[in-house]
């Protein structure tokens, strides 16, 4: 029997300051590489790790890096509480703690052969980013692929460099609420870009991540596109302490977000009382 | 304003006060600037059961003394005579109280003066072994308070007529083992303080203490003076007068209009015959006219009360304990006085109750109030008897003198 509450040591190998409150952390295991599953992945896109600092606790954070990468992982950390503040105080070379990956992730094999629409805003990008990396590796197995990404200002668009790379393989639709003078792209709501999407709604899946208001975009984007609730996947955010289905903090209705989630069919969570 | 008060306050005493010396006229005054809390007003309208909950908050250094003085006053008003177990446990609480307070004062506040340190924690670096002894004594006294009173500061277990909860035998046995282990530390303390270089001062002191059987601190019923002028506790208010002075938020007390000193030195002067065997040997070296020797007296008391605590616990274990809480008598007088010897001297609580148990009147006289007049007088003597000393030296000596009285200005402005 193992003490599943004790994390492993990891080392920060790179920190990118993405905005005032958001940093990207790249870390590697103190010893060895991350284990791959039989599909050759170190995690399933949509899964999360319990990332933390000794003595400060840990938080569930979605993995952003490519699931094919086994020498490091990347996460985006927004400074909101004790743990994320402690992470933000780390420097390259410092030790951090990791447990996981945990959760279900996207049902990626069922996405194959279908059009994929991914909607994201603000900090909701990590699980989507991993999913995109996954799709790009096997691009031929998917139909038309769209990323709709909205941010408050151009500076708030995360992972911009990677967006350029991704743009060579999938369709990217960017929009901001408040443009800077140099901004040449779309200004306004994500939903206004629906008209630029061409998919076969009967053979399409969609994913949604991001802050609460993005969820209302469902009504204006995914439903107008004709994608059924059953094929819309949502990543939920809940308080988590154990990450392994024991402590009861993350429950929603009948399920544990840490093991049954964080990815749910939209119609599944729609029925939950909380 | 703010700068003024923070800079001139006497450090390492309980509460806020400063010495004001008129160097031209060679006059010393003790200004007490603690804010008034008006406890005697706070108590009115509260219930009898709340009195001993509120009064410990007068002083966090001697809360047990206030707690028991209140309990005794209310019991007196309700015609309650507590059972022997209760009395033994309260006496045990008081031994813990004395050691707690004296250890804090001697090691943390007074000792640095005598060995040339700024603060007690420097001793931890210079002589960790000695400091360890002080900490062990602090620990054992805190444990007595935890075990009997429920907490080291502000008791939770005491009630009118007895205790809400009395300790079990096994926790008393645990205490006993701790006490036995720390016996050498208590003796060491008495030896250490016998060896210190106390400044010479003949202050011609009149010493005042409660007196009863033995070395009585919980149940003395006579206020006894070293000048053979005794009063019954019942007459405390007539004998001990309090005077309001415009420069102080604390009143200045006197005994039959004379300056008196209360506290450890006075207790040994009045009750010395009742000291435990080990402590008695050290009492001979006391100079009863030198207030600096109050520190030595406190060290001797640590040894005495340490011995007494062991004796009381052995008695409690041997005789067995009865946790019965005694109920009020029929037609009680509703007016009562409770007096104990707090670490700094005689402490008097008086309470008047209404039929429904609400307080209608409260009066509290604390030891430091009684000492303030004497502190000023001794400071004056120090000033007068050292005409050649420099201002700095005199200031240092005077602060040391104030500290030797172990004044609790917090208590004095209750």
């Amino acid at each position: 029997m193992k003490n599943l509450y004790a994390p492993i040591r990891a080392r920060v190998t790179r920190i990118e300051e993405l905005s005032e409150n958001v940093r990207l952390f790249r870390f590697k295991k103190d010893r060895g590489r991350f284990a791959k599953n039989h599909g050759g992945l170190t995690f399933i896109p949509g899964q999360f790790v319990m990332a933390g600092v000794w003595g400060y606790g840990e938080s569930p954070i979605g993995i952003l890096s490519s699931p094919y990468e086994d020498s490091f992982m990347e996460i985006l950390v927004r400074k909101v509480g004790v743990v994320t503040n402690a992470l933000h105080r780390l420097n390259v070379g410092d030790e951090m703690t990791i447990r996981g990956p945990y959760g279900n992730g996207f049902p990626i094999s069922s996405f194959e052969g279908k059009d994929v629409v991914m909607v994201s805003g603000g900090c909701g990008i990590p699980p989507i980013a991993a999913l995109i990396e996954y799709i790009i590796q096997k691009r031929e197995r998917f139909g038309r692929v769209y990323l709709l990404y909205g941010a408050a200002t151009p500076e708030d668009i995360l992972a911009r460099k990677r967006l350029d790379t991704w743009g060579r393989h999938i369709n990217i639709l960017l929009t901001v609420d408040h443009p800077s003078p140099e901004w040449k792209g779309h200004v306004g709501l994500v939903s206004e870009m629906v008209k630029d999407i061409e998919i076969n709604p009967l053979n399409a899946v969609a994913t949604m991540c991001g802050p609460g208001p993005m969820m209302t975009a469902l009504e204006r984007i995914l439903r107008p596109l004709g994608i059924s609730d059953r094929r819309i996947y949502v990543s939920l955010e809940r308080k988590m302490q154990c990450g392994i289905g024991k402590c009861q903090h993350c429950v929603t209705g009948d399920s544990y977000v840490c093991i049954d989630g964080p990815v749910y069919n939209f119609d599944e969570i729609d029925k939950n009382w909380d | 304003m703010a700068k003024r008060i923070s800079e001139s306050l006497i450090t390492k005493i309980e509460g806020h006060g400063s010495l004001h010396v008129d160097w031209e006229g060679r006059k010393a005054k003790l200004h007490v600037v603690e804010g008034e809390r008006l406890f005697e007003g706070i108590l009115v309208g509260r219930t009898a059961e709340e009195v001993h909950w509120i009064t410990p908050r007068i002083c966090g250094v001697c809360p047990i003394a206030h707690n028991l003085a209140s309990v005794k006053a209310v019991e007196d008003a309700l015609g309650i005579i507590p059972n022997p177990t209760t009395v033994l446990l309260r006496r045990l609480m008081m031994t813990g109280q004395m050691i707690q307070s004296h250890v804090l004062h001697l090691f943390f506040l007074a000792l640095p003066d005598y060995i040339g340190l700024d603060r007690a924690t420097e001793l931890a670096e210079k002589d960790p072994k000695a400091f360890g002894r002080a900490l062990r004594l602090k620990e054992v006294s805190d444990e007595i308070a935890f075990c009997i009173a429920g907490r080291n500061v502000h008791p939770t277990t005491t009630t009118i007529g007895g205790f809400h909860k009395i300790p079990d035998k096994s926790s008393l046995q645990r205490l006993l083992r701790m006490l036995e282990k720390t016996s050498p530390d208590a003796s060491w303390t008495a030896r250490l303080f016998t060896s210190l270089p106390y400044p010479e001062l003949d202050a011609d002191l009149e010493l005042l203490s409660l007196k009863g059987d033995g070395y009585s601190i919980y149940d003395g019923d006579t206020i006894s003076s070293s000048r053979n002028d005794d009063t019954s506790v019942k007459g405390y208010k007539e004998a001990i007068e309090e005077e309001v002075r415009e420069y102080s938020t604390a009143k200045f007390g006197s005994y039959r209009k004379r300056e008196i000193m209360v506290g450890a030195l006075a207790r040994i002067a009045i009750n010395g015959k009742g000291l435990g065997q080990k402590a008695r040997k050290f009492a001979k070296s006391l100079d009863l006219n030198n207030p600096f020797h109050n520190n030595l007296a406190q060290a001797i008391e640590i040894l005495h009360f340490h011995e007494e605590a062991i004796m009381l616990i052995e008695k409690l274990i041997e005789e067995g304990m009865d946790g019965t809480v005694v109920r009020p008598s029929i037609n009680p007088p509703l007016k009562g006085i409770g007096a104990v010897e707090a670490p700094r001297g005689g402490l008097y609580h008086e309470v008047h109750l209404r039929e429904d148990g609400k307080v209608t009147y409260a009066n509290i006289i604390t030891p430091t109030v009684q000492n303030l007049t004497s502190i000023e007088k001794s400071s004056q003597t120090l000033l007068d008897s050292n005409p050649a000393a420099s201002k700095e030296e005199l200031k240092r000596l005077m602060e040391m003198l104030v500290r030797a009285y172990d004044p609790c200005l917090t208590c004095s402005v209750h």
Partner: protein
Amino acid sequence: MQREAKKLKVGIFDFTDCEGCQVKLVSLRERLLALLERVEIVNWRLGQEKNRMDRFDLVLIEGCPITQDEIDLLKLLRERSTHLIGFGTCATMGGIPAIMDQKERAKWYNKIYGPQYKPRGIDSLPLTSYVKVDFLIHGCPVDENEIVRVMEELLSGKKPAYRGYSVCFQCKLAGNPCRLINGKPCLGPVTQGGCGAICVSGGSPCYGCFGIRDTAQIEGLLDILKGMADKEEIERYFTMFLRYTKEYNEIVRPFMERENG
């Protein structure tokens, strides 16, 4: 692990109070020495002779700012400190002195000191009535383990957290009979835990000295108390320590008024 390279500059100040919370600090004994390894105490009137009034990383304030001098010093300390922390119930909620308000105080000055006396005290209000306070370590007196917990959090750069649970947690662990079930008033359920339920364990009531906890269901408790105590008694419980809390003024007082009329 993250360590602060520089020692925090700490000041410990006391206003009008019983100083019992500082006694608790000394009662930390070995743990106090460990704490002193990590901080530099630049001002502590009770503990040391040499004191400075420069800038502080952390100021602990015990006691209630009753006099004008204390109020002025409090404001000065606020300006000069990064973290200002209330230490003990007198500082955090006004404490026992706050049983009386300004009007009652005026009456008692006269009775206790006589008509000639010029009072120094103004009113017994918590620190928060005058300045912004960064954290409140409640307790009459504070609890040793809570001091250590908050200090550990501060030293490791965390924002200290209030306890989310009520006194009832540790009260059940202690195996105490429930006062409320036995018809005796108790503020434990609405009071922040961390005290070890020490008063109830000793047989005394809980008067809420650890402060009202987050999202306390005060009206629910008042409904229970109503069944066992008269209005005056409920009032006495809530005014022992909690008179100047928002909850007392916004929930308890209106509840009492409704009950009256």
